[in-house]
Amino acid sequence: MSEPSLPDGVERREFDGERRLATRGEPVYGEPTADGWRAWDPERSKLGGMLELGLETGLAGGEMVLYLGAASGTTVSHVADFAGPTYAVEFAPRPARDLLDAAAPRDRLFPLLKDARKPETYAHVVESDVDAIVQDVATRGQAEVAVRNAQFLAADGRLLLAIKARSEDVTAEPDAVFEGALDRLREAYEVLETRRLDRFHEDHLGVVATPK
């Protein structure tokens, strides 16, 4: 488990004497770069944290991805660097402005100003049978969002979900929140793996799941 398989296009590279996750592409948010590679900071990215902690994401590189909660494009830019066609859904206009800058030089990254709770508003754009859904939406009902978007995922596809406990209920114990979310998730998915991301993201649970 010390070096779980990273997707093609994601490597550990040396930045200022430190080995860090990295992808190859245009820099987006002032991250360190070296030889065309850009450091992928697991503290700023849930998916980066999941890869760093060695969750089996099933990502191999080159797949089609639906990214929910792309925000200003920090993580989705790395995803687009190693994946194939990548649909980036974000609902808030301010971060979406930065997302546009990350998307402009990446010709297979498609930014969409849409509400992840309403898949019908982008089902005419996002294809069926995507290989992976990456979800990082900090609103209530995170499991519900994942369930509603299951229709996009291929039968053998992977949901890579980061659940933020505080978005569901700031007063409840994170473990109780996670259990509730996983229960809802199991209505549409088989949960393959869960791991607390606390080393990088406090009170977050990383989940790998596949459609039932």
């Binding site: 206009p93 546009l100 498609f110 100003l113 019908e120 089902a123």
Partner: protein
């Protein structure tokens, strides 16, 4: 538009028509269209002749999604409730900064001039002085900036006074323009405010107290930002909870009317006045023989 089984690229103009019209129509469908379910759009687009190859399709999608999203972002950021939110946050910033600068200027000027007042008013007096030394010039100049910022704050308030009644006529009338704008800002937009239950509206702006209560450390807060409303602040303490609840209830109805209908509802305002009269009459029944009628005619404009 009503075809919910079609992709963003397929539409009436996709068959024939100028290349640019086709692109514009597709872009607009990308932004506003819907579908019941996803399909294999890249293959369908090639089959329908919209794109020559899958690569060509993705190139077009990239271009269209960038353009449509850029336009949608611009439109959303221009939306009026968004302007209101920026304005009310700017008020807070200018007020805080004006006070800080004024305090610094007044403190400094106090070492240079006699009879220096305090706060922004003190800064205004200093700004009107004729400086003689280098230090005086700086202190006077600093005071002038504080006064300018205070003017800016006043102009922002005027702008809010113009925008708020256009964006949310009922809410602005009931709460006053500034409180209306603050409620919208706290909720994150008129739509989110309209969707909040009135119990949430009642404690908007008192999140710290609310969470302290939810974790069992404190009694439930009776009111948040709506405390600034005359109906709450001007009601005696033992009836303030009722007043806050009544006001919050009508404010949420006002926000809903504004968001979903957008027209004035006189009944709402009359209902609130009647309810407030009842609540305030309790103070009279409680043995305080204040002359009757004052509460009933109390206006709704807060300040």
């Amino acid at each position: 538009m009503t075809d919910t089984d079609a992709g963003w690229f397929s539409g009436p103009t996709a068959d024939r028509g100028a290349e640019s019209d086709v692109a514009d129509a597709a872009r607009s469908r990308l932004a506003n269209g819907e579908a019941d379910r996803p399909r294999d759009w890249s293959t369908l687009a090639v089959e329908s002749g919209f794109a020559e190859s899958t690569d060509d399709y993705y190139d077009r999608l990239h271009e269209a999604s960038l353009a449509a999203t850029r336009e949608a972002v611009r439109e959303r950021e221009r939306a009026d409730d968004a302007q209101l939110i920026h304005a009310v946050r700017a008020i807070d910033d200018t007020e805080r900064t004006a006070n800080e600068l004024a305090e610094r200027a007044v403190e400094w000027a106090g070492t240079l001039f006699d009879d220096v007042g305090s706060g922004v008013e003190g800064a205004r007096e200093i700004a009107a002085r004729e400086p003689e030394s280098d230090a005086e010039r700086r202190a006077v100049s600093l005071a002038a900036r504080a006064a300018d910022l205070d003017d800016e704050r006043a102009e922002l308030a005027e702008t809010i006074g113009r925008i708020a009644p256009a964006v949310a006529p009922n809410l602005a009338e009931m709460a006053g323009p500034e409180l209306a704008a603050r409620l919208i800002a706290l909720a994150g937009g008129l739509e989110s405010l309209a969707k909040k239950p009135s119990g949430t509206v009642q404690v908007l702006g008192a999140e710290d107290a609310l969470f302290a209560h939810l974790s069992g450390r404190a009694p439930s807060p009776k009111h948040g930002i709506i405390y600034t409303h005359e109906y709450v602040r001007g009601t005696r303490p033992e009836d303030r909870g009722s007043a806050a609840r009544a006001l919050a209830g009508k404010l949420s109805l006002a926000a809903r009317a504004d968001h979903y209908a957008g027209e004035r509802r006189d009944q709402l305002h009359e209902d609130l006045q009647a309810r407030m009269a009842t609540i305030r009459a309790r103070a009279d029944d409680g043995g305080d023989p204040a002359p009757d009628g004052e509460a009933a005619s109390d206006g709704g404009d807060g300040r």
